[in-house]
């Protein structure tokens, strides 16, 4: 791991950032990668990372991708401010940024020796929930990302659409802060190219919501087949703020995301919607952690997974209600559809409640397609394949309809179900 320390000397950032980097490198060297003995990594074997990328799994290798963002599988009919990152590096000529909003790529902030605004992003808290060596590596090595501050009362007229392209190893660090009453939509889209190359996308995204602010966050993971993807989304919410996440996991060889939400002040609410569609030998793992730290906060969580082939998914939803967090309203639901007998799901709701005045509901289902529904559709003239496809799409419907940007929803609908065999045109399927 000492190599990692050597590596950071050449990275951008002023003295303060460099100090944070070397601290992070030390932590990374000390903690290393999480092992199977770690409860939070019991079902996800991250040693596949070193087996594929070697001991220096964190090493960023420059890759030549000459693709123009317009030729990539991005969401075309989306009216948005675009930020394109290729192999972890911001591409100004392919991006268009909004006016009147503080929004800059991290790489630009790091060029300026007197600018300290990026400091806080590099600071690590080892006692934070689900902290691990991968996050430390991100802090040590990140050189680019999206940094934005939406001022008080500003409502961004279009979504921020951050497209991350590449099969290389990249450590990306994003920070988005919303002032009082500010509103924005952030779409993070991870796309692989068709290459056979494997790399690690290590993405950390820190979100801060001011009083009464509202953020809708799409996190769309469509990496290519061999890619490793690890991500952390850390959200801190002030009074009455509202956070909505649509997390979609379709790509990658192994993908893990830690979603950590802190409902820090009264009246804050969050909704986490997740959709996994996995096949082959894909491995997808989401660990979510919601801390109710103040009264009258509300959390909703709905994850659905569709697994085919030998795919393996892990869902862990932990909710912690603090002593003073009275009138907490929390509901969690996780539905799993196994299309093949070799697919596997490990799902675990975890509740820790330290006061009596709370409403917490949770439910898990694991099942196959319903035989009675299949027969009903077939008796109306639909073929076996057609009926199976329809029911599969319907299962995911709850998550899809919650997506309020139609272009994103149609895109995901198409991408998700093109993975499953024999799906035709699904226009108009959903009820």
């Amino acid at each position: 791991m000492s190599d990692l320390t050597l590596n950071i000397a050449s990275l951008p950032g002023n003295v303060g950032v460099q100090a944070q980097r070397s601290q992070a490198a030390d932590i990374c060297a000390r903690t290393g990668l999480p092992g199977k003995r770690d409860e939070d990594w019991k079902y996800t074997d991250i040693s596949r990372l070193t087996a594929t990328l070697g001991d220096a799994w964190w090493l960023t290798a420059p890759t030549a991708i000459n693709s123009d963002a317009t030729s990539l599988a991005t969401i075309d009919d989306l009216d948005a401010y675009r930020l394109v990152f290729i192999a972890g590096q911001f591409q100004p000529e392919q991006s268009n940024l909004p006016d009147g909003v503080q929004l800059r790529p991290l790489s630009e902030l790091l060029q300026n020796d007197t600018d300290d605004s990026a400091h806080c992003l590099f600071k690590l808290d080892e006692s934070a929930p689900l902290f691990n060596g991968l996050l430390a590596a991100n802090s040590a090595l990140a050189s680019d990302g999206l940094c934005a501050c939406i001022g008080d009362g500003i409502k961004l007229d279009k979504p921020l659409y951050a497209v991350h392209v590449g099969n290389s190893t990249a450590h990306t660090l994003n920070g988005l802060m919303l002032g009082k009453g500010a509103e924005a939509t952030l779409i993070e889209h991870f796309i692989g190219t068709d290459s056979d190359q494997a790399g690690l996308s290590n993405i950390a995204t820190y979100l801060r919501l001011g009083d009464n602010a509202a953020l809708t966050h799409y996190r769309l993971q469509l990496e290519s087949d061999k890619q490793f993807h690890v991500g952390r989304v850390e959200v801190k919410q002030a009074r009455d703020s509202r956070y909505t996440l649509h997390a979609v996991e379709l790509g990658g060889s192994l993908s893990r995301a830690d979603i950590v939400v802190n409902l820090a002040e009264p009246g804050a609410s969050c909704a986490l919607n997740g959709l996994f569609v996995a096949s082959g030998r894909q491995h997808i793992d989401h660990h979510t952690r919601i801390d109710h730290n103040a009264p009258h906060c509300c959390s909703r969580e709905n994850y659905r997974t569709v697994l085919d082939g030998r795919a393996h998914a892990v869902f862990n939803g932990k909710i912690v209600v603090a002593e003073g967090a009275v009138k907490t309203d929390s509901a969690q639901s996780n539905g799993n559809l196994l299309l093949s007998k070799h697919a596997e799901i490990d799902t675990k709701p975890e509740l820790e409640i330290y006061n009596d005045d709370v409403k917490c509901a949770h439910g898990v289902t694991v099942g196959q397609l319903d035989k009675n529904q299949l027969f009903y559709l077939k008796s109306r003239g639909l073929s076996e394949d057609e009926a199976r496809q329809l029911l599969t799409v319907a299962f995911a419907d709850e998550i899809l309809v919650a997506m309020d940007i139609k272009a994103v929803r149609s895109f995901i609908e198409k991408e998700a179900f093109s993975k499953l065999p024999n799906l035709g045109d699904l226009e108009g399927v959903l009820g």
Partner: protein
Amino acid sequence: MLKIENLHASVAGKEILKGINLEIGAGEVHAIMGPNGSGKSTLSNVIAGRDGYKVTAGSVTYNGKDLLAMEPEERAWEGVFLAFQYPVEIPGVNNTYMLKAGVNAKRKHQGEQELDAIDFMQLVKEKAKLVELNESFLSRGVNEGFSGGEKKRNEIFQMAVLEPSLALLDETDSGLDIDALRIVANGVNKLRREDRSIVMVTHYQRLLDYIEPDFVHVLADGQILKSGDKSLALELESRGYDWVKEEAAA
């Protein structure tokens, strides 16, 4: 057009149908009545092709073809329709989308051109009127959140859209109040045609006040014990089923 000969079928190793013989001609309306557990629903399910029923002997031919060798969807393409006793809810699958897929699969099978979205919507709206089904139901998930009566109406609406040549109505009247029954029965009556046979399975004579059958059969203990015209239904209403059983045993 439908010919059932010596049909034996079992469920989970238990014999339910014990030699059914029945012939149904084009345009005829038959009522099959019988006490609970007599095998009425098993008969409809075997004809429609539901899993879990094992035919141990006999045959079912439809327009000269072996119906039992076909998949449920192939039977639908051949014109067989089952109105379910308990229609399932399929949240997330649009009612109209399902029907369009069904209609077009059948048209394709018959070598006809598939309907486009506009023609289909027109057809669907017209048929919805037949059973007084509010148009808002068309774009909802199949039976999703429908009341019992609405589900049964939706079944007859689907029958109207799919235009079968053989319709099996499995206890379509059960659970309906008088007003809902009248609407459903009116719908069925409007769908009577010279080239469309209808088989109603019921244990209430009440349905037959609204839909007049050409033939009435009594099914008990897996066999058809007696057949007659609509007056038989009235007799069953007043005398119950036991006398038929006794008569058959004698």
